[in-house]
């Protein structure tokens, strides 16, 4: 999630080396074409063969992704920006592969207040978040089936 000062113009990314003021969403969005509370978990687990009992495990990244840094054109980041109803092709929402489960994306913008150094609110800020979850079964780096819940934060 990112915060920015709305009094300053947010510039559109133009592929410069120094992209000042660009938000996470803008950054990921425009680069996609370059290559991507107390709760009771009542999950209907998908039917999967050879599922092992729940346990810890390390998931693997999706194979594709984006190369958003013009000064490092080979730097690949294994994520795609959130799609929308007009995005073609539909980018993969999950950030982990060998995964079978539920995924959620929430791309939200808004306003808020910042407090620097304690005391009273002293700054009005905008925010831009792309938060996701993935919950279900996955095959980890150990080659075994696991169940887990992950947050893209």
């Amino acid at each position: 999630m990112s915060f920015s000062d709305p009094r300053l113009t947010i510039l559109n990314y133009q592929g410069h080396v120094h992209p000042p003021g660009i938000s996470r969403r803008q950054f990921l969005g425009v680069t996609a074409s370059a290559t991507g509370l107390a709760l009771g978990a009542q999950l209907a687990w998908p039917r999967v063969a050879h599922a092992d009992p729940p346990g810890t495990g390390t998931p693997k990244p999706i194979p594709g992704g984006i190369k958003p840094l013009p000064f490092a054109p080979n730097a690949l980041f294994h994520v795609f920006p959130p799609p929308n109803t007009e995005t073609t092709p539909f980018p993969e929402p999950s950030a982990i592969t060998d995964f079978n489960g539920f995924v959620g994306i929430s791309h939200v913008k808004g306003n808020g207040v910042g407090i620097t150094g304690g005391g009273i609110p002293d700054t009005t800020l905008t925010y831009d978040i792309d938060n996701r979850f993935m919950t279900g079964e996955f095959i980890g780096t150990d080659g075994r089936h696991h169940r887990g819940t992950f947050g893209f934060i």
């Binding site: 660009i22 509370l37 978990a41 209907a44 539920f102 910042g114 992950f150």
Partner: protein, 160 residues
């Protein structure tokens, strides 16, 4: 100008900004088009802007004269409650090239609360943030199978 960027970093194997969270941090009722995600005081880092985050997390070697894009990251905490609700447009996606398929509900999500905080560190003063409004840009709730599950369970019929 972006002033803060909170994320948990990239795993050594490349998993991007995705970390384990408690199972009870997420509740999904897919048939009803509802889900809830909540974290409280979750440990992340503030990289101040996304370019700084990507450069540092991606171990990117900067060409001469490029950067730096920000200071070292400092520890931070975030809290949020997000609600997905309603049954909007349902889309079925199958992408054999990327190796995933899924059924997705494209609808609205709402941030019920959002806050962040960090102690003074690294030459930065302490900072707190509290959201006062939210506007949904895009949201999605879906059931997805990818990788080996895509190839092995292609006709599983459990997307709905």
């Amino acid at each position: 100008m972006q002033t803060h960027d909170f994320n948990p970093g990239i795993n050594a194997n490349g998993v991007f900004w995705t970390v384990p969270i408690p199972d009870n941090a997420v509740d999904v009722q897919f048939g009803a088009g509802e889900a809830f995600m909540a974290l409280n005081n979750f440990a992340v880092s503030d990289y101040f802007n996304i370019v700084n985050a990507l450069v540092r997390q991606g171990n990117v070697t900067l060409p001469p004269g490029v950067g730096p894009f920000g200071p070292d990251d400092i520890p931070a905490r975030v809290s949020f409650d997000i609600l997905w609700s309603g049954r909007g447009q349902k889309v079925h996606v199958k992408d054999a090239t990327a190796g995933f398929r899924g059924t997705y509900l494209l609808d609205t999500s709402t941030v019920l609360s959002l806050s962040a905080s960090e102690a003074a560190a690294g030459g930065q003063p302490s900072f707190q943030f509290f959201a006062t409004s939210s506007t949904n840009e895009f949201s999605l709730l879906g059931h997805e199978r990818n990788g080996r599950f895509f190839s092995q369970s292609d006709d599983g019929g459990d997307d709905d």
